[in-house]
Amino acid sequence: MSRSAKAEAALALHRFGMGPRPGSIVAIEADPRGALIAELDRPAISELAAANLPSSAKAYRAVTDALAKRQAKAIVAKKEQDAKRQQMAEASAMMEGAAPGTGDMAAKMAAEAVPDPGRPIYLEEARIRTAAAFGAEIGFVERLVWFWSNHFCVSADKIRSMSGAYEREAIRPHVLGRFSDLLLAAEGHPAMLFYLDQTVSMGANSTAGINRTRGLNENLAREILELHTLGVRSGYTQEDVIGFANILTGWTLVPPGDNPEHGGEFTFNPRLHEPGAQKVLGKSYDDETVEQGRAVLRDLAANPATAAHVATKLARHFVADTPPPALVEKMSKAFLDTGGDLKQVARVMVSSDEAWTQPPAKLKRPGEWVVGMVRATGITQADPTRYTDGQVLLGEPLWRPPSPKGFPDDEASWIDGMGRRLDVANNFAERIAGRTDPQEVIETVFESQVSPEVKQAVGRAESRQQALVLLFMSAEFQRR
């Protein structure tokens, strides 16, 4: 397929980046593939300045502290109000009229007077994340961050305080590093342990297990095998899941209430740990410390099934719902040859012709599409409330996937959301129509890499707002 340099640059930005900004097509048109690779090589490109944000553990402590305070206030208020009611009832048994509010009402009000720090933290995390996407020159690395964050997803519905910090702490440092490091960071992160119920899991024969007659929770072990590494139906058995779950017992976090300095951080608690050697995929793991689990994770990371699973998912996300087998093969091989060097895997992907010859048929996910729309207008900051509310409307609420599987990556899952996208585009266009000229967007952002049909529709629109809606809703802006 022959494509002009500008068209190739536009495809690079749509398919592998966050979409064109004013001037970005021209900036990379000389060598789009080289520009993508250069972004991978930029030092610390995946990291995010977040000096004003607490670590996940600190955020978690702040939220649990506030919760404890709420409870205390509620108890005091209820006691006081109940006493007051009692007094009034005794003093005016004959009088009619409104009785004073109940103790429960007073308790609720007292509790609500203590602010919940979870939401502002979530919104600030959302703000810096979107700012990074808006501000990136191409955004290939941010797209990788989004991909891996979704691959190793946690849910803010369960652990909101940590959801943003998790991505900064466990995902970002490793998206261009080794898969094994990423895997260890994600599975050992308190947010993941909490999300997949690992913190309450204990070996049946562990000290705590015997004393408290509680036991194993297989959730994390199973999802690691099924979703994060080998992939479903790749040959592991229920025995492997149990063995692995036993190995992971003891992986938990420091209870936040007890420890104002380290509460919420990862800890290995030997009292929860199932004693003895365990078998996973035919191999025996004897070490009875945290290293036992780490060894399993390292072996899983090196497993060819993991390479194939990861390569397929990456290629599906970036290139096509049904990715070209040759591309998957190359990426999988690169994964195995380099010991899971994710930067090399990404480099092989964008260096392969198969990644470029596929027609631009892949439907952008809502977040990608929204960010692309904002970038096209040159806006670099967005109100995080609007963004997160919009993502809810579009069916892709930030850090709140429907299941540990993360958000889906195929057209069938998203295409019925076109109506919502239209509403969102319409309202966005209404807001910016006063200062955004659609023709100028076509010329200076897309460098006229727009089909005659879209140009005509934009040109004939009844208003700038309508023109912008048609442009952002066009197939070529939604597909890549």
Partner: protein, 416 residues
């Protein structure tokens, strides 16, 4: 970004409203000092088909021009008679009621001085008040207000302009401070935008077309509860999301009315409504245009209700950038034209009339043999309202408000 974008602006506006509210101690007293006129301008963007709104049913060439798509007194539904010559679109019963009560006036075959057919330029001329597009970034309404403030006849504290919408309409932009308010409702993408997008998808992406079509059918079903039979023959496609549009129009216009009714609130405001560019399946009698006119009619009712007593001193002027072709085009719609209508409504009007120097509909009588020929300069109408209703100085009207309009005399007798 897109969502809940209305909130901050609304909050700002409410702060403004709060400070205005402080003056509400003596509304009656202020009123006793004399008139206290209000004016709201509604800009219909996309170019309204004047002939589809107000039909010249007495013109012998009318039926020949539009055939079975012509509004008629014996049509289905029947058009509402205004006088022996003109009839109103049946989707506007409120406007008809106001007309009968002498509280509405129609100006027909009117246009701004703009004679090309670009929406953007046409809107620019309509709102800036300057014959050349793109010349200034202020609107005639704001400049009129600036004149008023210096004139001192209307309390400058109350002379603030109100813009409704997330982008301040050009017509109210300028030196006089603008208070803006944004409806909290999400404006659903209108029928026309959906139709255009669907058309684009049909040419470029059948899968997206199918997805959008499904949503349009769903919206239509939710909005109008059409029968399965109607769905089956595709009739439902003509009314997607109109309930949402009605709600948005009513909230935007109704809230403008509520602000203007405040004793020391803004006296002048502007709202813009999009969606009038009816190139395809115009549906004047019972389709797209009828739906939009119905929503506009509902907006008028919301203004009247919310203004309460202040309605008596109010003029609402509904204007559009230009009209549409006199004939129906090849896709059952109309293309960009020239002459159109302006609706005036409000208790301050001397209404119950259609003002028109009727140009006729024969081929030779049409502008460039295709459009209704404009015979009344829209500026004359607006100047008449500004002079007689708001008491803007007539010389200022010809110089700063509508520059170079000295030859366009204000239309007298619209109010009072």
């Amino acid at each position: 970004m897109t969502f809940r974008h209305h909130l901050p602006t609304r909050r700002e506006a409410l702060i403004g409203a709060g400070s205005l509210f402080a003056w509400s101690q003596m509304p009656r007293l202020a009123r006793a000092e004399g008139r206290d006129p209000r004016m709201l301008v509604i800009v219909l963007r996309g170019a309204l088909d004047g002939l589809g709104a107000i039909a010249p049913v007495g013109d012998p060439d009318w039926i020949g021009l539009r055939g079975d798509r012509a509004l008629a007194l014996d049509g289905k539904p029947p058009a509402l008679p205004l006088d022996s010559f003109f009839a109103l679109n049946p989707a506007m019963p409120n406007l008809h009621r106001l007309y009968k009560a002498q509280q509405a006036t129609i100006v027909h075959a009117t246009a701004t001085p703009y004679r090309e057919r670009s929406h953007f330029d046409g809107q620019d001329v309509l709102e800036s008040g300057i014959a050349r597009p793109g010349a200034v970034d202020t609107g005639w309404l704001n400049r009129a207000l600036a004149e008023l403030a210096s004139d001192g006849r209307v309390d400058p504290r109350g002379s603030r302009v109100l813009g409704v919408g997330s982008v301040t309409p050009l017509v109210v932009r300028g030196r006089a401070p603008v208070l803006s308010w944004v409806p909290q409702k999400l404006l659903p993408a209108n029928e026309d935008t959906q139709a255009r997008l669907l058309d684009l998808y049909k040419h470029t992406d059948p899968k997206l077309a199918a997805a959008l079509e499904a949503r349009i059918r769903l919206a239509a079903l939710g909005a109008t509860g059409l029968s399965d039979a109607a769905m089956a023959n595709g009739a439902a496609l003509s009314a997607p999301g109109i309930a949402g549009v009605r709600a948005y129009f009513a909230e935007a216009a109704g809230t403008a009315g509520r602000f203007l009714a405040k004793p020391d609130g803004p006296r002048v405001g502007a709202v813009g409504f999009i969606g009038w560019d009816t190139h395809i399946n115009e549906g004047a009698a019972s389709g797209q245009l009828a739906n939009l006119l119905g929503a506009l009619d509902g907006a008028l009712a919301a203004i009247e209700t919310n203004m309460g007593d202040a309605w008596r001193e109010t003029v609402v002027a509904i204007i559009t950038e230009f009209g549409r072709t006199a004939r129906i085009n090849g896709t059952n719609g109309t293309d960009h034209g020239t002459g159109t209508v302006a609706f005036l409504a409000g208790g301050a009007l001397r209404g119950g009339r259609v003002i028109a120097d009727w140009p006729g509909l024969k081929q030779a009588q049409l502008y460039e043999e295709r459009d209704l020929k404009p015979t009344t300069d829209l500026r004359a109408v607006l100047k008449g309202l500004l002079r007689d209703h708001l008491r803007v100085d007539e010389r200022a009207l010809a110089s700063t408000v509508f520059p170079d309009s000295i030859g366009v005399a204000p239309l007298a007798g619209l109010v009072g």
